[in-house]
Symmetry: C3
Subunit: 322 residues, 3 copies
Amino acid sequence: MRKDLLTIEALPVETILQLLDRSDYYLEFLKASGPLTTPCPLPSTSSGQALEKEGEFKILKGYTVANLFFEASTRTRTSFELAERRLGADVISLTPAVSSLAKGESVLDTILVLEAMKVDAFVVRHNVSGVPKFLSERLPDFVHVINAGDGVHEHPTQALLDAAELRAALGNLSGKRIAIVGDILHSRVARSNAWLLKKLGAHVTFVAPDTLMPRNAGEVFGIETTNNLDDVLHSSDAIMMLRIQLERQARGFFPSVEEYREQYGMTPERMKNSTALILHPGPINHGIELESEAVYGERSLVLRQVKRGVAVRMAVMEWVFN
Amino acid sequence: MRKDLLTIEALPVETILQLLDRSDYYLEFLKASGPLTTPCPLPSTSSGQALEKEGEFKILKGYTVANLFFEASTRTRTSFELAERRLGADVISLTPAVSSLAKGESVLDTILVLEAMKVDAFVVRHNVSGVPKFLSERLPDFVHVINAGDGVHEHPTQALLDAAELRAALGNLSGKRIAIVGDILHSRVARSNAWLLKKLGAHVTFVAPDTLMPRNAGEVFGIETTNNLDDVLHSSDAIMMLRIQLERQARGFFPSVEEYREQYGMTPERMKNSTALILHPGPINHGIELESEAVYGERSLVLRQVKRGVAVRMAVMEWVFN
Amino acid sequence: MRKDLLTIEALPVETILQLLDRSDYYLEFLKASGPLTTPCPLPSTSSGQALEKEGEFKILKGYTVANLFFEASTRTRTSFELAERRLGADVISLTPAVSSLAKGESVLDTILVLEAMKVDAFVVRHNVSGVPKFLSERLPDFVHVINAGDGVHEHPTQALLDAAELRAALGNLSGKRIAIVGDILHSRVARSNAWLLKKLGAHVTFVAPDTLMPRNAGEVFGIETTNNLDDVLHSSDAIMMLRIQLERQARGFFPSVEEYREQYGMTPERMKNSTALILHPGPINHGIELESEAVYGERSLVLRQVKRGVAVRMAVMEWVFN
């Protein structure tokens, strides 16, 4: 009965709802100022009340979690690390620059070596799609793998945190209209969000130039697509802006930063012509896909997404180990 | 009633004395060999005696502290990390090379994102003067900022640790004569020390060539200045040598390493002609501003400064959170 | 009565056997799935039974251990870190890339500064032979130094873990025939293993081309040498393959990767013509010194060596502090 979190696509709705609910629980702890008290375990697993009072019960105590980020991401790695440590885990984090990969050690060797050192779970980010699944299949059943982003495939915890914040702001997501805007083609965030939001009954639209729209996106994900942001601006309950990799311009994916901003940026004018909530997975190109005022404005969920990220990852770690 | 430590200039003498006293307390723990016992909290905040016996009370337990070193410094960062962890904090350390700044994320975004993850205090080093203050103004009141060195502005904990060791060696600093020698122009250590030593009544002299002396230094800091180290050699109770950045020579700040050493180095001859205590914030250019024999000699406070550094930072962390 | 672990050469057999036995004890904890329970202290030092039940006693609690890897090695560093943390130590790890050495600080300054911060033990890897001993001589008696690999001199914990696994697989090593194959000349692993296996009565053969064989190896270590792997293939109880540094080819140590593999690789043919156990310190050049099937095959001890590495390092840390 091994538990991994590899994709949203294969995750049952009931599990998704359970994780969202549980992230609500952890979020309360993170919102309070003052010292973080020890969260109690799932009510079903023990008599939580007494343990919470003791403040000493930590559900990952005695477990070791390794964060393997073959692609750099301080933000996501720190979010996972804090989630793990706050649940009591012993945490190690490796990044390619400091790992033996420099000596030509393969990803599989790395993970088998760490498992032999008694690492109980791996959080893996890799620029090749499918690496977390590949590793999961080669690890013992009692070792867990959490996908922290693999190539252009999936980024499950990002989609869970986005859905949790959308649900907190909009209520039940059934029938809600959500636009995802920008470089869909290279975005695992867009893909995981499409799967998840569809499962919760939302109406999703991908907004991108043809060069940055996956082929047959509409059919594959059961969503709508458009090249025109202004078409969905008024009707959207929420708009998720994606980061544009500026280096893609050189490869011809878009003509210029100015033109991209003009067509796909959340400019001050567009902010006025919309009542949608604004999301962004970060890091943000200020002044390109999003204006600084919008980033920290009233309708922005950007920092709430970050806080929720820790709560969701606590919920996920708890779930895979439970 | 938010508490930061941004500058020595704005710190009341009473607070300075309180921090120095408290660092004496913590220093005793660090001096003992064997396992570090848990220091007890401020006597005023609880019945310390009983808690100390239990060995389980840690005043930063449940708090997360982030060390953000936008400028590399293993020594200072490690000193802060150990101080924080020994008080029970959950510690994360980020340096530019591993942070998302590589992706163009701004300093402000970085700190707001971390705060959203429930980071309760930030220790910030940055090569631009004023960054800690800038960040402090944009953070909630219950979040603390400790300046670990900002540009050529201030380095408050270094001045506190220097004063604490000077006081331990010389007693009351009122009327004591202290020379600060070297690249004053680019030194936040010299500036913080000048402010602090003046507040404690010491007589401070800056010793530097004109090219490395701040304009109007005498007026600004209420101290004396000279180009001639030998003028103060006999009268000084303590001499603080600053690190000379060798790369400054290429920019014309001094003619040659040999000439700099000849005029501003603590050479064996000068050691003989003086009874002053020797300080250096490190890392030391052996054989330039200080001879190796002097670094680890009897009159040197160099390693005591290091030990005191941890004690002072424990006192500072306790103070900002109290 | 200071305790360091600097070499195998100077380590008494009784101590070696004590460390191997103790690693057996720790290994049991690492083999179990589920949360790692706290190992109990040496039976001789306290009434272990009761403490183990409490699960709170950690023998390195209150101690700080610094891992100073002046040469990169994620694998060995992580193994030490986990061993230290699992015994309750506060752990800091520094690598050249992030240390002040970039500013020209000497190795000695670095270690004296850390000692002043109350670091109780140093695990040191350095590309210059003798650095751990040099540092040990300059540190106070109550500070411990563990050699994690110095130049081409020694790598004591690797030899201990190899011997422990060989003993677990073969029983008493007296009279057992063990071949060490490859770049002996540049290998501290080979040297430490030769010293240790000889002390335990094993019959050791170095197998290498003349260009990669230390001069007078036979006399110095009291072992046999040969250029021909096939000569020892049938008679060996275990064969330890060493990593070949591919960059040595350019310097003329061997003519080509293909030729090296042909003569000194554990090819599928050689695997068939031998019943020997296979060891490798890692990281492995798959398809050169060892085939992938052999790495994870039945006769391979490779991953067991890794697990044993953590157990041995726990035993070593316990021993130096006891």
